[in-house]
């Protein structure tokens, strides 16, 4: 028997359903990233903070594997029609992402259309420049940028009779230190490196204001050709080969294996990412210091500034305008100077705005944590030139791998430096032309 009570109860339930349904109609924004460990926690904190600060959008961060894997996953998803909204892509994937005109939406455009205040000049030149077209349009949002720095073991320096408070500034000084370390037996290996191509090809060029390739290192056109067989490059690679045969330089691998050799105490000096500092801090049982990347003092214009590594956030195409508004809001949230300063302090990645750097400096962070500002100072040393703004090459993952192959062949004694670099140029140009062909259609 239907009574008023039943009817009323049904009405209340229906009303509640409608209300709760509306509350659940948040627009979801998928964010695919490759941050692990403590960095993963930071990413989740960002998303949680944003979600709690407003009700319209919900950012969902998803770990999709390391950079190459997550990029491949996003590409497959795009082909299937369900790409994420935001994708974290490493810097070597920039060329590929940029050429995918139908697949991405430039960040500058997203911010403008989303009605967010956005001034590209408010970002550190060397950081934003990497992700900006030659016409000044910012394509992706710099998120976690690092650069190459020099670490050395102060305890080993002291044992070898070197001044532990004076970092070797030039490559000849580094090798003189290496000779002394080897002679005194203070450590088993003197110098090693992580990311060989990033340090000894790309940043070697930028730091000495020498081009990697024509067309502003590829930023001004797809018809760029490599120039890494210049006298400076040949000189440096010949040195590397020489130092390797003398036992001063130990090759550890193509990624960051060298870092483990450093913090285990095996190698006394290391060139690698500024983002390695967190790991080194945790594992090194000795006093160490951070310094700027070594250079050749007799090269005019050196030191200029270094190029960034790390990754940026790209916005994928094919989503609804309402969702893009949410993305724009989230990116503004990430760019907040206080939040950037915190991210920089906690992770060792560069702050993307000078304001964040100033906040950190005023808080006395750099005084309490020596060496954490080297990366920023290196990036802001001078205004970037066309040789040091960054680089943009298609198929660069493959090309970098190939540079390292040629270096390995050289160090194994199969070829000398000039042959290695000439081959690297030829193979690299072949890959660039192949990419250019697919990108032009």
């Amino acid at each position: 028997m239907l009574s008023i009570k039943h009817f009323a109860r049904a009405a209340i339930v229906a009303a509640l359903a409608v209300v709760s349904g509306a509350a659940l109609a948040q627009t979801e924004i998928q964010w695919w990233h490759s941050m692990t460990g403590a960095l993963n926690d930071r990413v989740n904190e960002f998303a949680k903070g944003f979600n709690e600060s407003q009700k319209e959008y919900k950012v969902v961060p998803v770990y999709k594997g390391a950079y190459p894997e997550s990029m491949a996953a996003a590409i497959a998803a795009f082909r299937a029609g369900n790409a994420p909204h935001i994708l974290q892509v490493f810097e070597v994937g920039t060329g590929t992402m940029m050429s995918a005109k139908g697949a991405i939406k430039p960040v500058g455009q997203v911010m403008r259309e989303g009605g967010q205040k956005f001034d590209p000049k408010s970002y550190i030149g060397a950081v934003a420049g990497y992700y900006t077209t030659s016409k000044g349009e910012m394509l992706s949002f710099p998120f976690n940028s690092s650069t190459t720095v020099f670490y050395y073991n102060k305890d080993v320096f002291e044992k070898a009779g070197l001044d532990p408070n004076r970092a070797p500034a030039t490559w000849p000084e580094v090798m003189a230190a290496a000779a002394k370390i080897k002679a005194s037996g203070a450590s088993q290996c003197a110098y090693t490196t992580g990311w060989p191509s990033w340090v000894h090809v790309e940043n070697l060029s930028a730091w000495h204001n020498v081009p990697i390739a024509t067309k502003e290192n590829g930023m001004a056109g797809l018809d760029t050709t490599f120039q890494i067989n210049s006298p400076l490059h040949v000189r440096h690679w010949t040195n590397l080969k020489d130092w390797n045969s003398k036992g001063y330089f130990t090759y550890a691998g193509r990624r960051n294996e060298g870092e483990a050799k450093f913090y285990s105490g095996e190698c006394a000096m290391l060139t690698s990412s500024s983002a390695a500092q967190a790991n080194i801090n945790r594992n090194a049982k000795f006093k160490y210091a951070v310094a700027m990347l070594p250079y050749y003092a007799d090269v005019k214009g050196a030191p200029q500034n270094t190029i960034i590594g790390g990754a940026s956030l790209w916005v994928m195409a094919g989503k609804k305008p309402n969702e893009y508004k949410g993305v724009a809001q989230f990116l503004t949230y990430l760019a907040d100077p206080a939040r950037q300063a915190q991210w920089h302090q906690q992770t060792g990645y560069l702050p993307i705005t000078p304001t964040a750097y100033e906040i950190t400096k005023k808080a006395g962070f750099y005084d309490k944590n020596p060496g954490t500002d080297i990366s920023v100072r290196q990036m802001m040393l001078h205004d970037p030139t066309p040789n040091s703004k960054g680089l943009r090459f298609g198929s660069f993952v493959q090309i970098r791998d190939m540079f390292e192959e040629e270096m390995e062949n050289m160090l194994a004694g199969k070829q000398d430096a000039k042959q290695a670099l000439d081959t690297a140029v030829k193979r690299g140009n072949d890959m660039l032309r192949k990419f250019e062909k697919t990108a032009k259609e």
Binding site: A72, A252, S395, D401, N409, A412
Partner: protein, 293 residues
């Protein structure tokens, strides 16, 4: 007299085969046809611009000296893995066959490595022999041996061959042991009475009677070395140093997923498929004739 199963209902047989057929179509025929199609196209990673280029990808492959070098690496690698794998396991099987006490324990320990997944095996050997992390590498350095699979191509090849052989020994061992135990003891005893020494007995009686097993294992080992070793190479050396351990199947992965060059990668996998089909045909046509059943 041949036994035949007769189905009275016209659609039941098809229904029963349907699940297997579905799996074969979805997981083999469909990807293979996609690979064939993509090998004739050149496209950007996102699939936005797809261009039909005919046999250009194949032409580019066979004029690329690095692809041809990869052939050499794959040949060396598979010959080493197949021959070392089979000889070591044959030796172990002969020993295990003769063992009287604790034979159960020996057999269990020898079969054990097969349960280890290939990727895990690669990482295992990496943790032993990597010059930065490896404990055995550390001892080798202390003993003065110059071991560096990160820079020395031969060292890297040694590392992956050893890891691949270790994983496969159990499989070969099992089959050889079964084969050995199926040889009638009367034949061996008769030869011994006639004065044949153990070596002679092995070469003239045991090996020929073992030939069906050996032939089968040869086919399996070659396919294993061509394809299943991908996980070991990926975890242990990633194809390095230079390209010293970049076997064909690894190059397919690298060009497809790292370099995102799908046309070239598809062309390479088509070539690989043709090679293995060819090898299997050759093996069945010619070598099987020599097998005595």
């Amino acid at each position: 007299m041949e036994k035949r199963v007769v189905f009275r209902s016209p659609w039941l047989p098809y229904l029963l085969v349907a699940p297997q057929l579905a799996i074969t179509i979805v997981f083999f025929f469909w990807p293979a046809s996609q690979a064939l199609l993509q090998s004739l196209q050149q496209q950007d990673p996102f699939g936005i611009s797809v261009e039909f280029v005919g046999l250009d990808n194949f032409r580019a492959l066979f004029t690329d000296e690095h692809y041809l070098a990869s052939f050499k690496v794959t040949t060396i690698f598979s010959v080493l893995v197949a021959t070392i794998g089979m000889s070591v396991s044959l030796l172990l099987a002969v020993f295990a066959d003769r063992a009287l006490r604790f034979s159960g324990i020996y057999k269990t320990l020898l079969i054990w490595p097969y349960a280890v997944a290939h990727a895990v095996a690669g990482v295992l050997w990496l943790f032993l022999f990597n010059p930065t992390l490896g404990i055995v590498a550390h001892w080798m350095r202390r003993a003065g041996i110059d071991w560096d699979p990160v820079l020395n191509g031969n060292d890297a090849m040694t590392l992956v061959v050893v890891a691949a052989v270790w994983n496969q020994i159990s499989y070969n061992f099992l089959f050889f042991l079964a084969g050995l135990q199926s040889i009638p003891k009367s034949l061996i005893e008769a030869a011994a009475i006639d004065g044949a020494g153990p070596g002679r007995r092995f070469w003239t009686i045991v090996l020929p009677l073992l030939s069906p097993t050996t032939f089968f294992l040869l086919v399996v080992n070659v396919v294993y070395a061509f394809f299943n070793t991908f996980a070991i190479i990926d975890t242990a050396t990633s194809g390095g140093p230079g390209q010293a351990t970049e076997i064909l199947v690894y190059k397919v992965y690298k060009d497809g997923f790292k370099a995102l060059d799908l046309g070239s990668s598809a062309a390479q996998s088509v070539v690989l498929m043709a090679i293995v089909i060819g090898l299997t045909i050759v093996q069945f046509r010619y070598i099987e004739r020599k097998v005595q059943y």
